[in-house]
């Protein structure tokens, strides 16, 4: 079926099977492989994308649900000149990335959280990232990276 949606600011018209998952559409159809496939059960959060600004698991979404909506994948965070987004910088600086497989999802959940809550408490960060599982870092550095992201983004606004 034909669907129309906006992906990372670009209008997409594409013919998809009705039972295609958004995860597969993004990776195989659009070639945006920053979004990862972890568990395929909505439990690990590696496939997180933003749909109309809200984090959702793209492995649980069927493509027809994108009709008329706007999605953001990790690729959209790149700044002009190939520079990293402040959240990405913070994750690198704090050592919050090891194997990196969970990172795109972590960063998008962080963005969704900070978009509505610019200076979250540790408990709010833990709740905001509770749908993203990391098997390397133990989360301490990730939480620090979110706090650092919050400061960077506030600084950028001033």
């Amino acid at each position: 079926m034909l669907i129309e949606f906006i992906c990372n600011g670009k209008k997409i018209n594409i013919d998809v099977p009705a039972d295609m998952r958004v995860l597969d559409l993004i990776r195989d159809g659009l070639g945006l492989t920053g979004t990862k496939c972890g568990c395929s059960k909505g439990e690990c959060g590696a496939c997180t994308i933003l749909v109309d600004g809200l984090p959702e698991c793209s492995c649980l979404l069927l493509a027809p649900k994108l009709q008329g909506r706007e999605i953001t994948t990790i690729e959209a965070l790149e700044r002009p000149g190939g520079k990293l987004h402040p959240i990405q910088e913070a994750f690198l600086e704090e050592g919050a990335v090891q194997c990196g497989f969970c990172t795109p999802g972590m960063i998008l959940s962080t963005k969704a959280l900070l978009d509505v809550n610019p200076s979250p408490s540790v408990a709010e960060i833990e709740e905001g990232l509770s749908g993203n599982i990391c098997r390397c870092t133990g989360y301490t550095k990730i939480v620090k990276a979110v706090q650092s992201s919050a400061l960077k983004l506030q600084g950028a606004e001033i």
Partner: protein
């Protein structure tokens, strides 16, 4: 596979009536996993999330009505809803899941561990089941008939959940035991609603419902009777907790043993009741 996206209830009911081998999809957070795992896919999926009438929480004369396609995120953040329902919703899945999962999906999936089931049974909710040219109200008590089984017919849709204003007064609480806070599925969950007399402070009415401890969510009338008309101290709450323990019939399964469920439910019950009595407005 065909994918239908009706925009009105009327069109939905016609689709349900005319199209055979159809399956309703709301958020899809359970259904898509089942489809992927089994490879079994219905001929027609009918997506109900574009129907505005099925979304939102409305105050009305009767009490409060919740559209079946309202997301779990919207339920969990709503201040008008009784605490036990909002807290139950907040304990489901993760932010990603709650943004798509719906209350109707949680109910129709009818998993005994669903975290909105016990709260709605506790709140004596009614469900509107609609079919082409027909509709009926079914109480939460009668809706669930077994694990993953409800009274919903093939051509029916659960469209609305209604809570009587009586249950918007009084106070309620919810608790669940899971293996971690995020993404955990309940090993035991429990909802309590109670109303105290303005003058005496005694409990005038109390309803207790438990999930994940029987084939369907269940009430625990013996414990309700013990606490009704009292201003319970710790000892009485614990004695009622023992009745909760004997009132459930859990099984061993992948998430937990029956014995563990029976052990933890007493403490869970104690914590919820104590919280409601001491800090009724903390929710």
């Amino acid at each position: 596979m065909r994918y239908l996206q009706p925009e009105t209830i009327e069109d939905l009911l016609k689709d349900l009536d005319y199209e055979s081998n159809n399956q309703i999809i709301a958020g899809g957070s359970d259904l898509v996993i089942i489809m992927e795992e089994t490879g079994i896919k219905p001929e027609i999926l009918i997506d109900i999330t574009n129907i505005d009438e099925l979304k939102g929480i409305r105050k009305e004369e009767y009490g409060i009505s919740i559209g079946a396609a309202t997301t779990i995120a919207d339920i969990s953040s709503n201040q008008e809803l009784p605490c036990c329902l909002a807290t139950g919703a907040a304990s489901i899945g993760s932010p990603q899941i709650r943004n798509v999962a719906t209350i109707g999906g949680n109910l129709c999936n009818a998993s005994p561990c669903g975290d909105t089931l016990a709260p709605l049974l506790c709140l004596s909710a009614d469900f509107l089941l609609q079919a082409n040219q027909k509709e009926r109200w079914v109480s939460a008590e009668n809706f669930f008939i077994g694990p993953k089984k409800t009274v919903l017919n093939k051509n029916e849709v659960l469209s609305q959940i209604r809570i009587n204003k009586k249950y918007l007064e009084g106070y309620s609480g919810f608790g669940m035991i899971g293996q971690r806070n995020g993404q955990a599925i309940s090993q035991v969950n429990l909802a309590v609603w109670l109303k105290r007399s303005d003058e005496s402070g005694l409990i005038e009415e109390i309803r207790i419902a438990a999930g994940s401890v029987a084939p369907t969510p269940i009430r625990i009338p013996e414990a309700e009777e013990m606490l009704c008309g009292t201003n319970p101290d710790s000892e009485l709450i614990l004695r009622a907790g023992l009745l909760v323990q004997t009132g459930i019939s859990p099984i061993d399964d992948v998430r937990s043993s029956a014995e563990y469920r029976q052990d933890v439910i007493i403490g869970l019950f104690y914590d919820i009741i104590t919280q409601i009595l001491k800090e009724p407005k903390s929710c």
